[in-house]
Symmetry: C2
Subunit: 443 residues, 2 copies
């Protein structure tokens, strides 16, 4: 220890107590409660007043009576929310309809809300934001996207002086684990899904993850924040990873790419200068030297391109009880500070109201893996089909296959519409035996 | 365009005008002014009221008369600051003493301040924070550390509900460019410094960068924020990169490392459980599979380890007019929002007041590169010297050298004090011909 410095007595936090209700006591809720207790003194100093836990609402109180004092357990969440001494409500239940009722009730009663519920925020952001504005309270949801990686705060505050052009995120740990394992081992999708399930990275029913729905919720939230435009879950074009084969991974590797499930939110400017917003989730070939390519295992990362800031990347644990609790508690400190000192967090802001880009105009590049009849002239005819739709080919690779020849095409940038039409026509062409895969390329 | 969505008319921003004074019109100041103008409508909507530029203070107004209207040019910064219609002052001059006077004058006059000045904040944070608190205004300085990478906001807000354990940052682009170039080419420090100068990555007098002073300012700011403890520039142990040789880079490479100049801010808990804070800047061997190892060229990155969040990394442009302007404008939007809607940014908070760790107790690992007499038994004697001080060796590699043998040691973790004593004793040992380098390892 330095001899010139001494531990000074910590001054007592001066402000009023902030009452907290926690709805849900699963992996996240129990961590939030534990850390609130364990770090109570620190939180009091950071907020300017102590947090006081008024209660934890659970469906089955007896299940939690060993960790939570009986008098703090509520089976009626509405009763807990309605208490006069509750200032901030933390919603960590999950699902949509029931938490929606609870969060609306809390906001309408003038309580600030912190939620980790991406599905709820992606589906009902407008209704929730309206209720928060009307009551003049805060709605925080940092944990809804990529857990402890502070992308919500970054878009709401840090980049508030910049113009975001594109957000490309690996925002689902399950699918990144599976794709990374396929890339590392050469194994099939089914085998690596089984491995992810065994290790607890995938749920018993993995649909929401592997079909991209979870990532689509996050894409909706990121696009809404980044472009000041209401983008809902249903606005997001969504494709999952169930069709990705070991063959695709290998072809990508040979060409210097890895395959990631990306949530891409992009400002598109057409020839007339009209701006629109595209939000989509799909497997994507990412160059191996791109920062997103090195995001391994179940880690998440969000890559942002902004006019002045340039390229930024945020990387970390995108799921799990502790990282999610970290984000929830960061929000809770913010909401509680505002209760003590006044002021409000940046509210929902959709002033730009950009139109949604029709998916067919989105610019992209394709990787096409197909099997063709092995005869002279077939390549020339296929190229002609591409050229007819304005698609130019960047690289073409032909290999022997068991039946016919395997053809791997990388196109230059074109519109989704033109590329889709081209693929359809290729599929119908008599010398094409099968289109094995079509995967988009990043940027 | 989607047919169901239409461009809705942008509603007019309702709140009052926020008057802005910019002090300085160099690379950053001119970008701030340009982007403020160009994106005026967006800013008005994000703030809830329009920004109005009241003036730009410069030492030589005629130099700027082609880009700034004459009536907005002030050669007397104090006069501009004092105007009643200035609400927020943006300080982008650089230096310490003169901007310190200006910033204090602004805060004392009740104006919020946004500064990009790391040297000022690292040297005088307490005085500035006190003035801001007394006047009840905001002091923002996101741009002071790693430009557009929002580490200040992340520590002040996003991680406010967590306990930061360690911050390891590549926060100086010049030195990262030089070290990365040495790693890529095998060239000497002097050659790559010359290259950095030629390309504009190093200033004519590179001292502040290559000796680590710039990184030390940032380390002081990061440690203060991360540990709620006042850490000043003078508290930071600082070593630069001028002694790093091509030989070191190669030895590091062979052992699976790359060399980075890291700013390390760490919470240290001793055997009795007493906590202290260490802030230091020194060349560091980073394993090639660590996320910081892949930060190339002049990019910056800050790696944070927190109790609940786990490992987070933030990556981007750490310098330059545009990225710095992005951070300044993000702060400006925040400060202006508070002027329109009320509320304050999280103020300076040093409640924890942890003591500074004496450098000798900091735990670390060493890489030692030395030349020894090539005789039987020398290795055993050197190992005995290490063991005497409690230093155990992790790997030992002996190679032929022009004179004697080259010995490369990697130690296990020990205290700085014990390691330094050991190196001193090794140096004095008759069979040691020269200690070429001693470099610390990350973690």
């Amino acid at each position: 220890m330095s001899t010139t410095s001494e531990v000074s007595a910590k001054p007592e936090a001066q402000g009023r107590e902030v009452g907290v209700a926690i709805l849900g006591h699963g992996t996240v809720g129990s961590e939030v409660r534990r850390l609130m207790e364990e770090n109570a003194q620190d939180f009091a100093h950071r907020i300017g007043g102590p947090l006081a836990l008024r209660g934890v609402a659970v469906s089955n109180p007896t299940k939690h009576s060993r960790t939570v004092p009986e008098e703090l357990l509520f089976d009626d969440a509405m009763e807990l929310i309605a208490r006069d001494d509750v200032d901030v409500v933390v919603e960590v239940i999950g699902g949509i309809d029931y938490p929606r009722q609870l969060v609306l009730a809390a906001l309408n009663a003038g309580k600030s809300v912190v939620t980790a519920n991406k599905a709820l925020v992606a589906a009902h952001a407008d209704e929730l934001a309206e209720a928060a504005d009307k009551a003049g309270v805060d709605l925080y949801f940092e944990a809804a996207v990529a857990a402890a990686i502070p992308v919500v705060g970054m878009l709401r505050r840090s980049l508030a002086g910049d113009q975001v052009e594109r957000i490309s995120g690996i925002v689902n740990g399950t699918t990144n684990f599976i794709l990374d394992a396929m890339d590392n081992t050469g194994a099939s999708y089914d085998n690596m899904l089984a491995e992810a399930t065994r290790l607890g990275y995938a749920e018993a029913d993995p649909t929401a993850d592997v079909e991209g729905h979870d990532a689509a919720s996050k894409a909706a939230i990121l696009a809404s924040l980044g472009f000041y435009t209401r983008v809902n879950f249903s606005d997001v074009h969504c494709e999952g990873i169930t069709g990705i084969t070991a063959d695709d991974i290998e072809a990508a590797k040979n060409a210097g790419y890895t395959i990631k499930l990306l949530a891409v939110c992009e400002r598109i400017t057409d020839a007339e200068g009209t701006e629109s917003v595209s939000a989509r989730v799909h497997p994507t070939l990412v160059r191996r030297d791109h920062p997103l390519a090195s995001v391994s295992g179940s880690y998440n990362a969000v890559f942002v391109e902004a006019e002045a800031a340039g390229r930024l990347m945020f990387y970390g644990n995108g799921a799990g009880g502790n990282p999610t609790a970290s984000a929830v508690l960061g929000d809770l400190v913010g909401a509680a500070r505002n209760k003590v000192h006044g002021g409000r967090a940046p509210e929902e802001n959709t002033y730009a109201s950009l139109p949604l880009a029709d998916f067919s105009v989105v610019p992209t590049r394709y990787y096409i893996n197909m099997r063709v009849r092995d005869r002279a002239g077939v390549l020339a005819e296929l190229s002609a089909i591409c050229a007819k739709h304005g698609i130019s080919l960047r690289t073409v690779r032909q290999e022997e296959a068991e039946e016919g020849a395997r053809l791997i095409l990388f196109t230059h940038t074109a519109s989704e519409g033109d590329l889709a039409t081209t693929v359809k026509e290729l599929e119908a062409f008599e010398d094409v035996l099968a289109i094995n895969s079509v995967i988009r390329l990043a940027e």
